[in-house]
Every structure is written in structure tokens, then in C-alpha cells.
Amino acid sequence: MSTALPEHAPQRIAAARRRARTAKLGLAAAGLAFFGLGMTLAKANVAGHSRRPLRPLDAPARFQAIVRKDALAGGLLAPAQAAPGATTSQS
């Protein structure tokens, strides 16, 4: 029994390999597109994904500045009502 390949077999094999390569590329592209689409949808809809650049969790700098500014607290003064028993002078 002859085992020789038919005369047109090499062309068919080459064509099959081209189809396989195209299919692989197509699958990879589809995978990438699917992944990209999935990530986009996740960012838009899933709470755990940030939609904007991350910001630190601490209080805004302006708020912190106000708190620090107010950290020096004023005392309570009134007009003198008697002869002073103490004095404030340069230390």
C-alpha cells in the first residue's frame, strides 16, 4: 500500500498552518480585548476599583493646616480689678 502524500498535500498543510496561526492571533486579540473591556467595566462598576488617581486617607492638607493653626489656644483676660499680685516680664 502506498504511503506517498497526494500531490497537493503540502499546499493544504501550509494553508492549514496559516489558518491555525490566524486563529491563534485572533484568539489572543480577542483575549486582550476581553480583558481590556472587562477591566474597563470593572473600573466603572466595581467599588473596589478606583476610577481616579488614589489619594491619601488622611485629612486634606488645608484642614490639617487649620487644625495646626488653631493649636495655639488663647487664654482668657479681663481688666485688672485689684493691685497686681504677680508680674509678667521678660524672661
Binding site: 495646626r68 493649636a71 488663647g74 487664654g75 483676660l77 504677680a86 524672661s91
Partner: protein, 286 residues
Amino acid sequence: MIAGQTAFRAMGCDIVAAGADEPALEAIRRLFAERDRVFSRFRPDSELSSVNRAAGEPTLVSPRFAETVQCALAVAEQTGGLVDPTVGASLVALGYGHDFAELGDNPAPPGPVGPAPGWRRIELTGRLLRIPYGSAIDLNGVVKAATVDEAVDLLSGGGFVSAGGDLAVRGATDVALPAGGAVRVVRGGIATTGTDRRRWRRGGAWYHHLIDPATGLPARSPWREVSAAGASCLDADVAARSALLAGAGGPEWLDRRGLPGRFVAEDGRVTVNRTWTEMMIGPECT
């Protein structure tokens, strides 16, 4: 001095306590002596001197020392760097390296000074402290006022404690002000700082202890003395020093923070800021 007051020397100034019974007075004496032992720039055996000698190297400090440095850094931040603990080297270079009572008229010119390294270069992690190489820190301002606040808490009843004029009250106290006048401190403390008392001659020129961190030199200010009141003696002291260092903008600097201040100009003219005026409802005080 009125009855019920006791005075003693500590930290290079007069400490006055009023309303303290004998145990409280003893506790106040011990408190000032202990703080002086730890924080004096003039004692070679103080913890502060050890830290300054180890400038550039990490040093393990006591919990009290770490807490005080943290307080000094907070003060520096709150004042925008006006009150900066890294001016210690400038003070020494200008001649204030010994107790003030020992400073004479030294004809030698002062050493070179430059801008303070800056409080942001102090590294404090827990009790591990590193100050910039070649620098020295001065915590005296913070320590003295904070000690006054601690001391007044030792009083069982009403009274006050004053250290060189930095004063904290428990109960309303009438306090004489520089250049005349008086005010009633109802709560908190009052402090006065200035340029014409703690000063010395070096190389034929006068220097004072309020250093401008930007130059490392004694600050130039239109004010000879500034008194300010705060919720504590520390707040008052920081406010007074900051207002003097802020120069002509001192009254506004205090107003923005709701702190009352009274300013004596070089010519003796007395000015008060808006907050001070608002606190006074009577004509007796200016």
C-alpha cells in the same frame, strides 16, 4: 512680693509660686531642678548636652526628652518655623554658651553663624533622636513654660507659678504688665519676651537671645517687648516669641490665631492687637 508667695532660683531665673503649701512647694522645687538637670544647655552632664554632643548620630533619649522634642517640633510647625529648636548653635557662636549670669563683656568677636538647619531636619522615631550634624538644639523656651504649666497643676488651690515672668494661673490673678498697666488673667497663662533684658556684648556689639532661624542672628523687630496670653503658659510663651519674631506683622499674626497680644515698641509706645482689645471690657487696661 505679696503674702503667700515664695521665690527661688532655677533655670537661670526667678521662680515665684503663690498659693503653694509646703508639700506643693517642695514638689515644684524638685520639678524645676529635675527639668534643669535634663534640659540645661549649660550643664555638661544634662541630657540635652549629650544630644548636642552627638549631633549627626542617632541617640536614644529618655521618654521625657522625646516628648519635649516632639512638643518643640509641634511648636515649630505651628509657628511656621518662627520658633525653631535648631538655633542652639547660633546662640553658642554668638556667645550665649554659658549661664546668663556668667556672661560678661567679651571683646572677642562672635563665631560664624548662618541660617539654622531647621526643625524639619530633626529626626525623631520613638525615643531615637538624631539632630543635624554640626547643630545644637535649644529647648529652653518650651521647657520653662511647660514646667510652669506642670507646676501650677501641683497647687491644691488657687494661685500661680511664674518663671522669669512666664506665668500660669489657677484662678483669676491680676498681673502687672511691662511699661505699666495690669491685666487680670482669668484662665491659662501670660508670658512676656523681649530683646533688652537677656542680652550681652560680644566683640563690641550687643546681641539678644531671640534668634531669627532664617539668619541665625538676633531677630530685628520693631518691638522691645511682647506679652501674650494663652490657654497655657506654653501657648502664651510661644505666642509672645512668635509675635516678636514676626516683626511688624506680630499683632496680625496673633489676631489670626485668636491670641491676645500687647506690644511695647522701641520708643516705649504700647500697642495691643484686636483680640486683646476685644477681651478688655473696662478702661483700666491698655
